[in-house]
Symmetry: C2
Subunit: 207 residues, 2 copies
């Protein structure tokens, strides 16, 4: 919904001066209180402003951003995650490289007795491949990033939390894990999942 110029002005005033009474807003705009009554109702109904009795109007935020956030907070990681690529720590770097090509993935999660102990990226594999190591004899445990230096996420966490972690820690793929000290990998959440979500959220509602 497109706001009028006066409604935009009112938002600006409340953002800067709030909490502020309707009378004071009208005063700043040099208008009668009655003139802006309808604008204040619309802005309150749309969610930009809220009013407290005897205090006045205060700014709540851009409702579109708030709606987007509410939507992202309401979608769980498990709803959009992918199947993880997992190898045991004793598997070789060569096995890891094969997995990258066979499964077309960027990050492999490494386990010991089924529990997460590390992860290996394409960059880690590339570093080994140009180094002086025997790819078939070097285990992935030699080149992996180790726990606890792995950022993981739970299946019930929100996709917003996931996107924030990916951005903040500059990672490609989050292991989706369950358990307390011993973590089991149940999924993989990547920038590909987030990008697909963007396409879906902005897409037709008809599907």
């Amino acid at each position: 919904m497109k706001l009028s110029k006066r409604q935009e002005q009112i938002i600006q005033i409340v953002r800067e001066e709030g909490p502020i009474t309707g009378d004071d807003i009208a005063g700043i705009l040099d208008l009668a209180r009655g003139t802006i009554r309808n604008d204040l109702s619309v802005l309150t109904m749309l969610g930009y402003l809220d009013a407290r009795p005897k205090v006045g109007y205060y700014y709540k935020g851009d409702p579109t951003h708030l709606e987007i956030r509410k939507m992202l907070d309401g979608i769980h990681v498990e709803e959009i995650m992918s199947v993880p690529a997992v190898l045991d720590e004793k598997a070789s770097v060569y096995d890891g490289i094969c997995a990258v090509f066979l499964e077309n993935i960027g990050t492999i999660f490494i386990t010991r007795q089924g529990f997460l102990v590390g992860c290996v990226s394409r960059k880690d594999l590339l570093r080994s491949a140009i180094g002086q190591v025997d790819l078939e004899k070097t285990p992935l445990s030699m080149i992996m990033t180790r726990m606890p230096n792995i950022i993981s996420i739970g299946p019930k966490d929100s996709v917003y939390t996931a996107a924030q972690a990916i951005d903040q820690w500059e990672i490609d793929a989050l292991p989706v894990v369950v358990g307390e000290e011993q973590l089991k990998v149940v999924g993989r959440l990547t920038k590909t999942n987030i990008n697909r979500l963007v396409v879906e959220l902005g897409g037709d509602d008809e599907s």
Copy 2:
């Protein structure tokens, strides 16, 4: 804004039956026309429904999705793109691997006399690194994906178009290009940019 159960029902009816008159909606709900008058105004004002005279109400879409799409359509690629990593086609595979580590990027755009002729991914580099080639003597042109098999995007295209292309073609990085037949690379649009946008759009409006 949270809709009432009756408002949700009305949306459902209009989605399935629209265009439909207010009287017919009231009839399906077994209510008087006057009872749902206010619901219809609210839904129309919020953007879920629209009405045409003598035709009736029809469904426009979930306004949050429409708002998200409008927002994504309104943001240009050039506003969120990154600096591209570009190498000449005569540079070696070894140079390409160095660029990946030095600039921490996933895809290198390859040019001839300054114009885009291909791109090289980490996977392409990894394939070469485990192969029987001399990395310092093999030019990137030997291993690159070539034009016209490169999906590119313009700086004025919308980020929604970019996200769609990334999803549809399963690519990591789009070269942002200008020019007609000869394309100059002016940026790089990746899933990292899209993920960051999600974090920003869902974030505080206060900043």
